[in-house]
Symmetry: C2
Subunit: 412 residues, 2 copies
C-alpha cells in the first residue's frame, strides 16, 4: 500500500482523556480512533493487525476440529431467562433496549445461552455429538469504568468457542486439546514465554477454571507464578488448599501483574440442563450434553501486544501480526522507490511505501511510531553506498544491502 492512500496521520499527542499507554500509542500511530470511553474504531492499520491475530486463532481452532459461525448481536430475552441471567442484578453489564414492535432486546455481552439454545435444533442423538463451534463476535458490555484502552472496552472483539460432548471423557479430551491450541496461539503471537495457564475460580462443576494470563504491567489481575514448575495461580484462589493440591509453597511463587488474554471454562452438564439441551444416548436415555466454553480477547490482545512490544519511539510489532512486513521509505528517489515497491508487490511481500512528499526526519519518526518490522530506505545516498539501508524496528543497527540481494533474500 502507498502511504498516500492511507488516510491516517500520525498524531503528536493522544487525546487528553486517554490514559492507557496501549491506546495512546495505537491512536497516535493511526491504528485506532477513540469513539468514546471504552469504544474504539479499527482504522486500516489496526484492522490489518486484528485480521492477522484472528487468522492465527482461526487456524488453531480449525486445527482442533472447530467450525466457524457467527451469532447475532441482538438477543432474545426469553433465552436468557432460562438461566436467570437476563436479570440486571445477576448480570450487571447488559445493554438493553425496547423494540418498537414491543418487548425488550439485549445486546450480546456473551453467547453461551443463545448458542446452546440454537443447538437444541441440531443435537438430538449421541450420533450428533460432539459439536465444536467458534466465532469472532463483537461483545457489548455496559462497564462502569473503561480505563485500560483497548484492553478493556465496552465494545470489543472476542473469539468464543463452545464444545458440546456426549460424555465426560470426550469433553475432557477436547478441553485439553483446546488448552494446547491456546498455548500454540499465544506462542505464535509472540507472547508464549510471558503467558501462563493459570488456575482460577471454577464453577459448580469444577474447582478451577483455566485462565491464560500474560505478564503485563497494564493488566488488572495478580497471579503467582513458578516458572520452573510451570505453575500459575490467580490470587483469587491462592490459599493453602490450592498450594497443597498443586504441590508448591507460597515462597516459591513470584507475584506478577497480568492481563487475562484467554480463559477456558468447564460447565459440565449444568448449562445444558438449564437450557434443556438433552440428547438420547446409546442406551436410549435422555441425558444433558457437556459444555465447555473457551474465550480469547482479540482486541484485548491488540492492546496487550501494543503495551509489551513498544519502546519510547512507538510500536514494535512481532512479524506474525504486523500490519505490513516491510516499510519502504523513499527519500528523493521516487522512481527507484516505485520500482522497488513494484518488485516487492510482485514477490507478494506486504509493504507500506512511504511515498509522501515529507521530510526524512518525519518519515523516520512515523516509521518508528507505526512499528513495521523491516524498515527499508532508498535514497541517492543509499544508492551511492550500494543499494538499500535495512533496519529492523527492534534493533539499532542499519546495514547496506544491494537491491538484488535484498530481493533474493525475500521469501518469494
Amino acid at each position: 500500500m502507498k502511504q498516500t492512500n492511507l488516510f491516517t496521520k500520525t498524531l503528536h499527542d493522544a487525546p487528553k482523556d486517554e490514559t492507557a499507554r496501549n491506546a495512546q500509542l495505537l491512536i497516535r500511530a493511526g491504528f485506532v480512533h477513540k469513539e468514546m470511553a471504552g469504544v474504539y474504531d479499527l482504522l486500516p492499520l489496526g484492522l490489518r493487525v486484528v485480521e492477522n491475530i484472528k487468522q492465527i486463532v482461526r487456524e488453531e481452532m480449525e486445527g482442533i476440529g472447530a467450525t466457524e459461525l457467527l451469532m447475532s448481536s441482538m438477543q432474545n430475552k426469553n433465552i436468557w431467562t432460562c438461566t436467570d441471567r437476563w436479570d440486571d442484578k445477576i448480570v450487571d453489564v447488559w445493554f438493553k433496549s425496547k423494540l418498537h414492535a414491543g418487548g425488550e432486546v439485549g445486546f450480546g455481552w456473551s453467547h453461551e445461552e443463545p448458542i446452546t439454545h440454537m443447538m437444541t435444533n441440531h443435537i438430538a442423538s449421541y450420533k450428533d455429538l460432539p459439536v465444536y463451534v467458534y466465532q469472532f463476535q463483537n461483545k457489548l458490555r455496559n462497564e462502569l469504568r473503561a480505563k485500560a484502552g483497548v484492553m478493556r472496552g465496552r465494545e470489543f472483539l472476542m473469539k468464543d468457542m463452545y464444545s458440546y460432548s456426549a460424555d465426560k471423557e470426550t469433553h475432557e479430551k477436547f478441553y485439553e486439546a483446546a488448552k494446547e491450541a491456546y498455548v500454540r496461539v499465544f506462542a505464535r503471537l509472540g507472547l508464549g514465554s510471558d503467558t501462563f495457564v493459570t488456575f482460577a475460580n471454577g464453577g459448580a462443576f469444577t474447582k478451577f477454571s483455566h485462565e491464560f494470563q500474560t505478564i503485563c504491567s497494564a493488566g488488572e489481575d495478580v497471579v503467582y507464578i513458578n516458572r520452573e514448575k510451570g505453575i500459575a495461580i490467580n490470587e483469587e484462589v491462592l490459599n493453602d488448599e490450592t498450594l497443597n493440591e498443586l504441590g508448591v509453597t507460597k515462597s516459591e511463587l513470584e507475584k506478577v501483574v497480568t492481563a487475562e488474554v484467554g480463559n477456558i471454562f468447564n460447565f459440565g452438564t449444568e448449562k445444558c440442563e438449564q437450557m434443556d439441551l438433552y440428547f438420547t444416548n446409546s442406551e436410549g436415555e435422555k441425558t444433558p450434553a457437556f459444555l465447555g466454553s473457551y474465550g480469547i480477547g482479540i482486541t484485548r490482545l491488540l492492546g496487550v501486544i501494543a503495551e509489551k512490544f513498544s519502546d519510547e519511539n512507538g510500536l514494535v510489532w512481532p512479524e506474525n501480526i504486523a500490519p505490513f512486513s516491510v516499510h519502504l521509505i523513499s527519500i528523493n528517489a521516487d522512481t527507484e522507490g516505485q520500482n522497488l515497491y513494484d518488485q516487492l508487490q510482485k514477490k507478494g511481500v506486504s509493504v507500506l511505501w512511504d511515498n509522501r512528499d515529507a521530510r526524512a526526519g518525519q518519515k523516520f519518526a512515523d516509521s518508528d511510531l507505526i512499528g513495521i518490522p523491516h524498515r527499508v530506505v532508498i535514497s541517492p545516498k543509499t544508492i551511492e553506498q550500494g543499494g538499500l539501508e535495512i533496519k529492523m524496528r527492534s534493533q539499532a543497527e542499519t546495514t547496506i544491502v544491494s537491491i538484488d540481494d535484498f530481493i533474493k533474500s525475500l521469501v518469494q
Copy 2:
C-alpha cells in the same frame, strides 16, 4: 469439510412464524438460525456464502482505491446531534441504551456521522484528499416490521463506503467509478441481468440518487424499467419531469417488483458543513469536503439470491458464492469416498463430503436443499459404470465420468 463435522441438520419445516421464502429455505438447509423476528445467526454454511459475497465486494472496492476499516457499533450522541439525527422523531430506527457510567449510547444504524467526524482528525489540507474508505459493518435498526426474512433484518450486514473529495470533479469521477464497480459486483454475483441502476430520490445536493434494484418478487420496491434503453426509475420519482429528462415515455416502461441491493448517494458538501469537516484548499481557503456514500446490503443479497436461485427442491447457489464447489456423496463406498475427498482437498477444491451413515434418498434430498453447484456421487454402482456420477444442481442430466478424467478436469 466432512458433513459429519457440520453440526447443522436440514429441517423438513421452517418455523411457523417464518413467512419469507428466503428465510424458510435458508433455515431448512441450515444456513441461518432465526434468533427472533428480523434477527438471524449465520451458521457455518451461511457464513461461508456471506464471506464469499464480501470477498467479491472487497475486491471491487479495493479495485477503485478504497481502504477497509471497521467502525464501532456503539455511537456517541454528541456526534449525531450535529445533524439533528439523534432525534427519534427524525430517525425512527434507533436502538439506544443508558450507560452505567452516565449518559446515553446509540447502536449504529448508519455510520455517516461517526466516519465524517473521525475524518476531521485526518483531513486538514487539500493534500490529504481524496479519501475513500469502506467497511463491512453490522447495522442495528429498530424496524417496526420485519417480515422479509434476511432481506430486511433488524440486524444486518452492510458494506458502506464513503468518499471525501476536494472538488466536484474528483467527487463525480469517483461516484461514477463506484457505480461501475457496483455493476461489476452484481454481475459477479450472478445478478447482472436482473439488476438496474435506478433513478431514485436525491437530497439537497442532487435531484436523484442511484439505487441498484434487482428484480425479485419478494422485494419491497416498484421500479419502471426499459431494458433496451437501460433506464430504470423508482416509482417514487416517476413523474412527467423525470420521464422528460430521461427521454422515455411511461408506455415504454415495464413495471417490476424489486429489492434494493445497493445505493449510492451524493451529499455534495452539505454533510461536511454540518459536521465541520473543512480543509484548506490550494488557495489557502477553508472549504468543506464533498461526500459520497455507497451501500451494499450483504445479508440482503444472501436473501435475494436465495429467493432467485432456488427451485421446489431447495437452493441453487451460483458458483461464485456457493458455500462449497463440490458436494461429494458416497454411498456404500467409504474408502473410495475418503480417497476422492483427499484428492479433491489436495487440488484445493472446496468440497463438502456427505460421509454420513444415511440413506441415499436422504443424502440426495439434502444435497438438493443445500444447493452446492456440483454433485458428485460415488457408489459401487457408479464405479461399475466407470467412475463417478456428476450432476449440476441447476440441471437435470447426470453423466458418468472416470475418476481420472474428473480430477483432470478440475482447475489445478
